[in-house]
């Protein structure tokens, strides 16, 4: 999923005798080993695991009332309880699934739409291309969040998937625009021309020559959409317009807010869900760094920014003034 699909090519087995092989592979995966990306991946994996096993490991039924009304965190209730005595820790754990589900589904929907519209309009050109480009511009102009609120209101009730699809359908335009620009430039590349000259059909050119080269961009726009979708879902729940019944972090915040948790001094009601969102968002952003750096090697911070000179002092590698390290005198 969030692992950039761009790397499927690295998975292709390289012959053992290709000496450059493992090294090249290592270099290609290096963006994953960067501290930022790895942290992002680990945190994301953690949330995915919680999303999958959450309902089983939650100590309580998140909706179950108890007599421990509005208690602060304790050994029994790690994150405290609500005004109904519900266990907030369980709510956060169980709510993870909905958040991840909506985020990923919306990300997938939006990415598919963005790819379809963006790549097609970029490759086709002409009036069809212009038309598709105009379509994505219209969607770009329409403000997404209010639109999501309205559509969310328009549909009587629906599960996470519906919300995800709505978010997906309203948030693809930016990705489409970027992909279109990329495709326009790729279309002029010689290898695309060469493929055409060797007799490849149009759809094969789009899917096998152009798309693989866009994977990094697609992956990064996917991650971006997931962030947006998660934020949207939570916002919807927070303002109380979403119509779904499952727990998610936004619902927790909605309850905290409508019960004025902070005024009541019940910070524990407010803090965990918000932090969870922030951590997930950060993880996704970190991942995006990695993909960005992968797309644009110049951003790679894999190279060091500091070096030690002969005298043992640290010097910064900077543009315009190459450091002189000096040789240790024998």
């Amino acid at each position: 999923m969030a692992l950039p699909a761009a790397d499927f090519k690295a998975v292709a087995p390289l012959p053992a005798e290709a000496i450059a092989g493992p090294a090249a592979k290592r270099r290609r995966f290096r963006f994953l080993t960067g501290g930022k990306t790895l942290t992002g991946l680990i945190v994301l994996a953690f949330f995915v695991v919680i999303a999958i096993i959450g309902p089983w490991i939650a100590p309580f039924d998140p909706s179950a009332r108890s007599n421990d009304l509005l208690e602060s965190p304790s050994g029994k209730h790690w994150f405290g309880t609500t005004h109904l005595g519900q266990d907030i820790f369980s709510q956060v754990i169980v709510g993870t699934r909905s958040v991840m589900l909506v985020g990923l589904t919306a990300g997938i929907v939006a990415t598919i739409l963005a790819v379809l519209v963006g790549v097609t309009s970029g490759y086709l050109g002409g009036s069809a291309g212009e038309g598709l480009s105009a379509l994505s511009n219209v969607f770009l102009v329409i403000p997404a969040l209010p639109l999501i609120i309205i559509i969310g209101t328009a549909l009587p009730s629906g599960g996470d998937y519906l919300v995800a699809v709505i978010i997906g359908f309203t948030s693809w335009a930016w990705g489409a625009r970027i992909l279109r620009a990329q495709t326009l430039s790729l279309r002029r590349r010689e290898y695309v021309e060469a493929a055409r000259a060797s007799g490849e059909s149009t759809w094969r050119i789009i899917f096998f020559e152009i798309l693989p080269n866009l994977t990094a961009v697609i992956a990064s726009s996917f991650v971006g959409t997931v962030v947006f979708a998660v934020m949207s879902e939570i916002t919807l729940a927070f303002v109380g317009v979403s119509s779904f019944s499952e727990w998610n972090w936004g619902t927790i915040l909605f309850w905290a807010q409508s019960q004025q948790a902070l005024a009541q001094g019940a910070w524990w009601w407010f803090v965990p869900a918000g932090l969870a969102i922030a951590i997930l968002g950060t993880a996704l952003s970190l991942l995006n760094f990695g993909i960005d750096e992968f797309v644009s090697p110049r951003l790679r911070s894999g190279g060091k920014t500091k070096a030690k000179n002969a005298a043992g002092k640290t010097v910064r590698l900077r543009v315009g003034f190459t450091p002189v390290l000096g040789r240790e005198k024998p």
């Binding site: 930022k36 105009a134 511009n137 219209v138 770009l140 102009v141 329409i142 403000p143 969040l145 209010p146 639109l147 609120i149 309205i150 559509i151 209101t153 328009a154 009587p156 962030v227 934020m231 939570i234 916002t235 927070f238 303002v239 317009v241 915040l253 807010q257 902070l262 910070w267 407010f270 918000g274 969102i277 922030a278 951590i279 997930l280 968002g281 950060t282 996704l284 952003s285 970190l286 960005d292 644009s296 110049r298 951003l299 911070s301 920014t305 500091k306 910064r316 590698l317 900077r318 543009v319 315009g320 003034f321």
Partner: protein, 326 residues
């Protein structure tokens, strides 16, 4: 010339499409404004009122959607956005007129300031990779990943409250009448500090990051090396050569952000009880106030388009390569 005509055509088309969508989508919501007014009043408004409210809102005549659509366009061309249901019979224009300046001033200024500060920090971070500014990145990333409303609420709890300098809600002291006098402006500024600060904190991260990355990319361009080779002052290379070029991609992002000022303020206004368009829109959605919703959407659409136009122009000014000769 042709370029401009083309752009203009594009804007007209987009505006038409957006207005059309804006017209139809609110009407997809089940129920109607009267029902929702009754529901909102939860018993304080008797169910007997339904009939009189239908008459009041002019919903008793059964017009087809298409007829309504054409009427709407006719109205638009007269510069009339209709009467709001929520504030019946206040014209939508005056409802928006009351709230728009607040949004534009608060969010507009913070967007611009956020862009300026973020971009400047980004310039430094990208230029001096590995310096302390660069080290700030993870922090700003985290802050920009925090949901805005959450940050705002925490800020209110921690910083505002009785006796604090920061008022926790409203756009100005109750009891003041908006006007261009010191008391009022002072109060308005004081009320806008906390929301502005939280917007800044949560929006700056992406500007820093975007600019930093562009700076890193641009810093390895040949003309930067040439500028160094020319023995120019470091500052001059950084500002006039690197930043000047790195800024170009941010321009369209900034324009887009400017355009979304109007649309993206909902949560700010809810959390800080700030009198702006976003909250107005939220209310309109809640009470199925089609005219108001459409009016605000129109404003949003127009502002995005105008911002895009500005971006086009800015690009034309900033990047000589896009200027067509002849």
């Amino acid at each position: 010339m042709r370029y401009l005509l083309q752009r203009l055509g594009f804007y007209v088309f987009t505006a038409w499409a957006a207005v059309t969508i804006n017209f139809f989508i609110p009407r997809l919501i089940p129920g109607d404004p009267v029902q929702s007014l009754i529901t909102k009043n939860q018993g304080n408004l008797s169910a007997d009122a339904i009939q009189s409210l239908y008459v009041l809102f002019g919903l008793d005549k059964n017009e087809s959607l298409i007829t309504q659509y054409f009427h709407y366009w006719a109205q638009l061309f007269r510069g009339d956005l209709g009467l709001s249901f929520t504030f019946f019979p206040t014209p939508v224009t005056s409802v928006i007129g009351d709230s728009l300046p607040w949004t534009i001033i608060l969010v507009g200024i913070t967007t611009v300031v956020g862009f300026l500060i973020g971009t400047s920090l980004g310039v430094v971070a990208g230029w001096k990779r590995g310096s302390w500014v660069d080290g700030l990145l993870p922090v700003t990333t985290f802050l920009s990943s925090v949901p805005y409303f959450w940050l705002g609420l925490i800020a209110i709890t921690l910083l505002a409250g009785p006796g604090s300098f920061f008022p926790s809600s409203g756009g100005y002291d109750p009891g003041l009448v908006p006007g261009w006098d010191g008391t009022f402006i002072g109060s308005a500024v004081q009320h806008s500090l906390l929301p502005a600060l939280t917007i800044l904190i949560s929006s700056m991260g992406s500007w820093i990051l975007g600019m930093r990355n562009m700076m890193v990319t641009v810093a390895s361009e040949d003309y930067i090396t040439v500028a160094h080779a020319k023995g120019l002052k470091e500052r001059r290379v950084m500002v006039s050569y690197a930043a000047r070029n790195a800024l170009l991609p941010s321009v369209s992002g900034f324009a887009l952000a400017l355009g979304f000022i109007v649309g993206g303020t909902l949560l700010v206004e809810i959390v800080f009880s700030y009198p702006g368009v976003g909250y107005e829109l939220f209310q309109a959605v809640g009470s199925q106030d089609y005219p108001l919703m459409q009016g605000i959407f129109l404003i949003i659409t127009l502002s995005v388009l105008v911002a895009n136009l500005l971006a086009d122009v800015a690009y034309l000014v900033l990047d000589p390569r896009t200027r067509k000769e002849g």
